[in-house]
Symmetry: D2
Subunit: 240 residues, 4 copies
Amino acid sequence: MTFEANPQGKQVCVVVGVGPGNGAALARRYAREGYAVALLARSTETTEPLAVELGDARAYACDVTDAASVERAFEAIGRELGPAHALVYNAGSGTWGTVEEIAPALLEGAFRVNTLGLLLTAQKVIPQMKAQGGGSIVVIGSTASRRGVARTAAFAPAKAAQKSLAESMARHLWPQRIHVALIIVDGVVDLPRSRAFMKDKPDDFFISPDAVAETAFRLSTQPPSAWSFEVEARPFGETW
Amino acid sequence: MTFEANPQGKQVCVVVGVGPGNGAALARRYAREGYAVALLARSTETTEPLAVELGDARAYACDVTDAASVERAFEAIGRELGPAHALVYNAGSGTWGTVEEIAPALLEGAFRVNTLGLLLTAQKVIPQMKAQGGGSIVVIGSTASRRGVARTAAFAPAKAAQKSLAESMARHLWPQRIHVALIIVDGVVDLPRSRAFMKDKPDDFFISPDAVAETAFRLSTQPPSAWSFEVEARPFGETW
Amino acid sequence: MTFEANPQGKQVCVVVGVGPGNGAALARRYAREGYAVALLARSTETTEPLAVELGDARAYACDVTDAASVERAFEAIGRELGPAHALVYNAGSGTWGTVEEIAPALLEGAFRVNTLGLLLTAQKVIPQMKAQGGGSIVVIGSTASRRGVARTAAFAPAKAAQKSLAESMARHLWPQRIHVALIIVDGVVDLPRSRAFMKDKPDDFFISPDAVAETAFRLSTQPPSAWSFEVEARPFGETW
Amino acid sequence: MTFEANPQGKQVCVVVGVGPGNGAALARRYAREGYAVALLARSTETTEPLAVELGDARAYACDVTDAASVERAFEAIGRELGPAHALVYNAGSGTWGTVEEIAPALLEGAFRVNTLGLLLTAQKVIPQMKAQGGGSIVVIGSTASRRGVARTAAFAPAKAAQKSLAESMARHLWPQRIHVALIIVDGVVDLPRSRAFMKDKPDDFFISPDAVAETAFRLSTQPPSAWSFEVEARPFGETW
């Protein structure tokens, strides 16, 4: 069986949530290792050029909180690239506010993007991975998943739910050779908009998206004799 | 100012999620200590008789996942009983299933009942408590909030999100003298339907709803010099 | 069987580590509830007058890090007051320093006082409690047991070991009706020496020893249907 | 400056606790990557032949619980191989028993091997690493560090203390470019003596020492923009 956007039949990696930071770095990392990559974002405006740059890659518009949109995207991925061998879930959102400040819709929206979307996309790839005898699902989480502080009343519950779902998935799927893992991003990712807010910080204050991508790729290729579930990505100078 | 259903001007406790188990025991415990009690459940079928039994109490129909319904219930509580001094959040749900088995709507539903409802009801009582110089919000959580296992793919994320929200609330509200606390129920609550499923278990296998209510009431009255956030309610014979 | 220092045959509580703070408050709390109390400290200089004040109480010199000293103290307690029904372990120490600053002897000393002493004293009372059909062991822990920070290189490992031992004990002893619990003291206890260092802090910055004692006593008398293992004692205004 | 046992001036890795399992695999992994390796064990009986096999390596007899022995070993390492750039702490012990069964000396012995030895050896290499502008310290921990169960009354407290010390070290040393990390070994390592006890288990039940060594080496070479502290090494089929 051949796939039009993956003529060499490379293993397929689906990166969900491709913006200019971790998402693009993840896509580049897996592509460099020989994966055909599906790039999912709400619009394909920035992912189309990235797909062209990467070669065996294609951009898909997908709203991860909408089951029908997820359905359409994965149907197209399966047809054009083939079944997924790796899923990297990088969709997320980061509203700040205390319990007194946040609108309930913000809490619900954060949950839908971080957790519901993980379930919807995971349910698409799990049967494909089982059919292939294994695979990996790497979730880009956050230190907010470990604790809620005053101003993360909307964000922390969403990340905690995401972590809990990932853990439930790991306990169920590891014995079936699907490696579910969670990266705890603990620090500020190096993005144009982070730099704009934090002009006084030195370069090494920031987490490099390439380093996050490296961590994710290592998790996707760990030997099954010693898998990790939860791994921090934290700059050496961060206070924790 | 006097209230028709609270003529003596007792302190008011709102119990959210009153069924035959913890909810009824909580209502009785706070009533016994001199609180006027608002009983919230989806229907008032079983809470009306309980309100009559308790005296200074009233039953309210409320769907905690619906902002308008919460709005109506708390408007009525404020008018009939007065501003809340204690909120006990006992609404919850417990679907079982792995990531491969659960419908996405189950995950979302569990989140809405356990977490969104906590936000909606807390946002109603926080201003009232601040106006009174303090108060307490006790959340009836679960050991599932601490970890996701294979068959809690829908339930654990919801409870983890609930715990995270409660923690965020605690960090924000404690300094304002509002004691937010979480009870980790770790075991099977003694209910007719639990007994029906587990006929071979001795009495002391089960968690008594009265003991959960006792724990909640103690949290509501802890001295502010030594507050607890997270407290287990676990039978002595439970494996953990 | 009668005991010279406990003529009415009251239940016996052994408080290990009685100084002017939590220890004295613990002793007073249990005495007030009708316990005969054994007061253990390295010297009996301050505990003798406390024993006289409390009535059915007696002071014992004990170095908890020395098995022979523990042996002598518990032999005397058993003879003079009777078998223990409650043990409150309040011995502890709090050296500050980073890994580069601490002498290895400080790490070892902290371990011996916080953890080895808990084992030595627990091993004395467990058979007594089993013979009575139950009992309680409450350990006064610290937030340092949950995490090591830069300047707790000696203290945090000792408290982490203490918590781990308490947890192991709980899992083994709960089914035998011995309630092992841990209080996480998270803040500065109100002591003359704390006040001397923190003269600008308001009264409600401090944890009242009476509030810690109240928490301990509640744990000793929780119904076995809903026991707690780990309970925080944290002032409402503390940052955590 | 040249070193007799490291004539090419390779970076030096000190592996503490070299037996037939993780220790030997660790030594091989770092040697393969171009490190000169110091092999520490109580006796040099099995490490001498390994040193010969590895080439730029040397065996040292060292009792990690004895400050003078540690002093002698590191003096010799510094003289013969040069200052350490990596330390892998694999010394450990695994007595089983409940609080009622263990002799206090077992608790203390476990603490000394797992925690005191880590402090003693870390204090030797930290100044060397600072002088070189950085380094890495990888501790081989255990899932027992996360919780104490009934039969780990001696082992779990020692591993919890070790983890706490490692965390304190990490928070202090990361900003100085020394990467302290902890591997949570969660499963049975593939050793002749494990196999003898578990003859019915398939090969993939066991953790391969090579996989642990791979994880350790990856930690030693992580980019400082995204360091991890705590990483599990758990077989895909393990129940957790």
